[in-house]
Symmetry: C2
Subunit: 227 residues, 2 copies
DNA sequence: CGAGCCGTTGATATCACTCAAACTACGTGG
DNA sequence: CCACGTAGTTTGAGTGATATCAACGGCTCG
């Protein structure tokens, strides 16, 4: 898969002409990463941002004692680290691969000028950041107002929606990671899942989830949007 | 104070020419609000966004039972509701004044075209959204990793920094609001403050705070950036 | 001067974090 | 093909921070 083919299909680069895409592709650095490899650390100077071609990346903050707050887990096609390009100049959090991955690096040089000269690109970026802000707002809402079972229910409902509303689907991240995304401990997540299974709302077989009572799930989540 | 003078000094409109500012000022709607007046509700269609000329605005989500998650409390000069202009078309949360205020409304019409035609404006907006994302990331970190006393310590340290590092300063929001911003209950905040005072870290006299042991405060906050 | 808003304090219940340990699934290398 | 190590997951028990309920005191504003 060539770089240009990848970026041609990304929402971020929607509306760009063929020649603009070519120019962009020519400055992109294509790099493979092993699972668990650090991409950048919070506070370090940013020379550009990344787009995921393949794999999965965890964006997180960490406490002195080693505990983590997971902000995102991004998958193929998603950009990350853009914030550092537009403000502050340093990455706001740590980034590490959670799978073997292939990342595209877009150097800051040239990007800023490209953005300011191309209306479509700047509006795409604004939309991307705005959408990110909505996600964060939802996450803050969930952390403040909801307890683990409700957050889990909201997650499962939207996970199902992302898989075209299928009742049975497979989690694409490990449960430990999911616990982190929900702002809770692995053990608490495990217990919450078990309880939901006992109550007949879902069936859990490893990473495969079957929603048995969608109404009950949605009632539990009550008002929580996608995380 | 005229609209044009206000917007001329905002970071958001930095780098605009005099004539651009005039054009902008001509489409702005200037409106007074009473304390406690709703500005918009989550999910309603957005016809534009706001800038605060005077007063203070609370941005929040609410649960069915009436509990609230406060995302921001904005003051003079700060914009809010921009997210809806760039993505989704609806406001992501509720907005209400917490003081008697004067707000400038910038209609969506014309704004989008202005942004795409003016590099400075689009880069300013990108920077503003990026900075907002950093704040949210810090908030999520605090909610996930830190307990109330630590969040409070971090808040006090940065509040002091915003007042040029003065040891004695005045909270510019009520303690109940502050509790909401820290994601905790009024009572818990009250107890945390009392305890910090007992331990000699701060002195509390109503809304006036004096930092007695900045090192201890910073050690408590340990790693938490501004909220 | 009364009403509401705000803040404090006390008592209680509970959720979830922590520590500890066993159990499973999986891939690798012998 | 099996043994082993590792990563991931689950279960149990104990503890602690905080939400919640309740009542009270002070302040402000009309």
């Amino acid at each position: 898969m060539f770089v240009q083919n990848i970026i041609a299909n990304l929402p971020l680069f929607n509306g760009l002409t063929q020649s603009q895409l070519e120019a962009l592709a020519s400055i992109i650095v294509d790099k493979p990463y092993e699972k668990g490899e650090m991409i950048f650390f919070e506070g370090t100077a940013a020379k550009g941002f990344y787009v995921i071609a393949q794999g999965r990346v965890k964006i997180y903050k960490s406490a002195p004692d080693g505990r983590e707050a997971i902000l995102h887990v991004f998958g193929p096609g998603e950009p990350f680290g853009e914030v550092a390009v537009f403000q502050g100049g340093t990455y706001p959090a740590h980034a590490v691969t959670v799978e073997k991955s292939r990342l595209l690096f877009l150097p800051r040089e040239g990007l800023v000028s490209r953005i300011s000269s191309d209306p479509a690109l700047s509006l795409n970026m604004l939309a991307a950041l705005s959408s990110r802000l909505r996600q964060f707002a939802n996450k803050i809402e969930a952390l403040t107002l909801k307890e683990t079972p409700q957050r889990l229910a909201a997650y499962l409902v939207t996970a199902s929606e992302l898989k075209d509303g299928a009742d049975t689907f497979t989690l694409d991240i490990a449960k430990g990671l999911l616990a982190g995304m929900l702002g809770t401990a692995r053990e608490t997540l495990s217990r919450a899942l078990t309880k939901m299974a006992e109550e007949g709302m879902v069936r859990v077989e490893g990473r495969q989830i079957t929603i048995l009572d969608r109404d009950a799930l949605e009632a539990l989540a009550s008002g929580l949007e996608s995380l």
